[in-house]
């Protein structure tokens, strides 16, 4: 055994030690990132479950000190909040089903290269990805065509989107032509083929787009702020926005406990409870749909 061999051995050992330390440090960093990600959400839940007068004293970090469901009771007793939840649920359902059906239908036709005018249709769509009229001309249009202050403003303007259509088009072009040909011979028309053959085998893309459209509709507050005036048509996110916006300026200066039911529940804890109720469905669902949205982003990125 010569010395160089021993030295080599020692340096290899050191390298492995370094790698181990590096790995531990990396794991620690990742746990830290997870903590920073989760804690604000956890804290919101904790405060929403704590007695609001007690919350004002401060010092709550990990767990409710005086546990109560009063804020949640207040949320579900509030007629306006329930109304807003209803709007959110309906707009999300209708917009998602309608838009996934409409985009896939148009995309199916666009995906056919033998279609007369195919190139023109694709060009019309591609231009919309890079150019638009901007917010104000869009607002004027919505006013002009009579969608302003109606429920349908949540549905119809969001029905189509060429980015999502491209994801469908690239998927449809992978489908073997033989599937459609045999149906053609049996005398089925193109719409029937789309409905009976194409849609059932497209569930992965349908789920991906439905997830994107669904989450967007559920979380959107801006449409309700700008295109709707009638408070009965506000979705829950818009309702929350109005509460937060009116409170921001004042609460930024002094915290104001506003009694709702005998001082037990203040506006802030009701607001937090509403936020938790609003967010819970998505948070519960998204981990199970992870593979769909990851796939959607990947297809989108290859195309885009």
């Amino acid at each position: 055994m010569n010395t160089s061999n021993i030295q080599h051995h020692a340096s290899l050992h050191r390298q492995m030690m370094m790698a181990k330390v590096g790995e531990r440090a990396l794991e620690f960093l990742m746990v830290l990132i997870c903590f920073v990600t989760l804690y604000p959400v956890w804290y919101t839940v904790v405060i929403s479950l704590n007695e609001s007068a007690d919350t004002m004293l401060g010092g709550i970090y990990w767990w409710p000190r005086k546990f109560t469901l009063d804020s949640y009771k207040a949320v579900f007793m509030d007629k306006n909040i329930i109304k807003a939840f209803n709007i959110t649920i309906w707009r999300t359902l209708i917009a998602t089903v309608g838009s996934v059906f409409f985009i896939s239908m148009v995309a199916y036709a666009f995906s056919k290269r033998h279609l007369m005018g195919h190139k023109f249709y694709m060009m019309l769509g591609t231009i919309t990805m890079f150019f638009g009229g901007g917010l104000i001309p869009y607002f004027i249009l919505i006013k002009n065509i009579g969608l302003y202050d109606t429920f349908w403003v949540y549905v119809i303007p969001g029905l189509f989107n060429f980015w999502n259509a491209l994801i469908f088009i690239s998927f449809f072009r992978e489908i073997p032509a033989a599937l459609e040909e045999s149906a053609h011979i049996d005398g089925a028309n193109d719409f029937t083929i789309f409905l009976k053959i194409i849609l059932p085998i497209s569930t992965p893309v349908l789920a991906t787009i439905a997830l994107f459209v669904g989450v967007w509709n559920w979380n959107d507050y801006f449409m309700g702020v700008i295109f709707v005036n009638n408070p009965d048509l506000q979705p829950i996110q818009t309702f929350l926005y109005r509460v937060i916006a009116s409170a921001t300026a004042s609460r930024a200066v002094v915290a104001m406990p506003v009694g709702i039911s005998g001082g037990q529940v203040n506006s802030q804890s009701v607001q937090l409870a509403t936020m938790v109720v609003t967010t819970a469905p998505i948070i519960v669902i998204y981990p199970f749909l992870q593979k769909y949205f990851v796939k959607g982003i990947m297809i989108g990125s290859i195309k885009g």
Partner: protein
Amino acid sequence: MRKSIWQTFKEQRHLQIMALLGVVWMLVFNYAPMYGIIVAFKKNYKITESLFSFSFLKTPWADANGFQHFINFIKDPEFGNILANTLGMSILKLVIGFPLPIAFAILLNELRSPRFKRWVQTISYLPHFLSWVVLGGILTTWLSNTGLINQLLILAGFTKEGITFLAEPKYFWGIVVISDIWKELGWSAIIYLAAIVGIDPDLYEAATVDGASRFRQIFAITLPSIKGTITILFILAVGNLLNSNFDQILVLWNPLNATSSNVIDIYVYHVAMRSMRYSYASAIGLFKSVVAFFLLFMANRVTQKLNEVSLF
């Protein structure tokens, strides 16, 4: 024998109807607003006028050959401040927020345990699914004078009285940049992770045999392999410099922090919705789009020269 156009159309009629429904939708919701840009060159558009009427076209044009509103915007006393706020926050987001997801994706890929990796990934997507309103609610709670941040600052002895973060302009940019990174770090990393997964594993094996440490491999293999993805996303980010995240800023905006929170998008919104000056607001919006397109074009040119990757 060649079929006539009419015959082909009749054979394709189901597909054609499906396609044309989409075309009609695009004409109404994408192309009609583009036509509506004319409003920016009109003297003073009123919301009661229909874009599609003959009388609308006959309404008077703005002075200076229709460009008066654009000139007014550049002369607007708010102009400098709005531009500074818009660019300031966007550039901070670009400089800090753009590299972080790349670093996160690379580090995530270095994790040995697939189970641990999957957990971290799933958790990191969570904030993306919160709406900006909900995050705005969390932020106003945390940053109020009695909120969590102030409780901690007082506990640590940094301050005696609670700081009203959202009422002071000097904190606004920081709040916007940090909350944006918090929300989108994990989500933005997805695209890089996908690119990293596509790298040929043989490259790493060969490097290991050559004695390259994992740290060296990141710079020698991983980063060069995802250069194309990084470049394209960078070009798009530069093209978006003038687009503030409207959803985010509208929630956090209030009159007290306006001097540092008034961005172009917010200004357009206020000019139109509060002052009803639709022509002026449209002109500002158009100004923004034109500059944004120019930026996108320039970024594309520069990256094309530097490393032969381009968007178009």
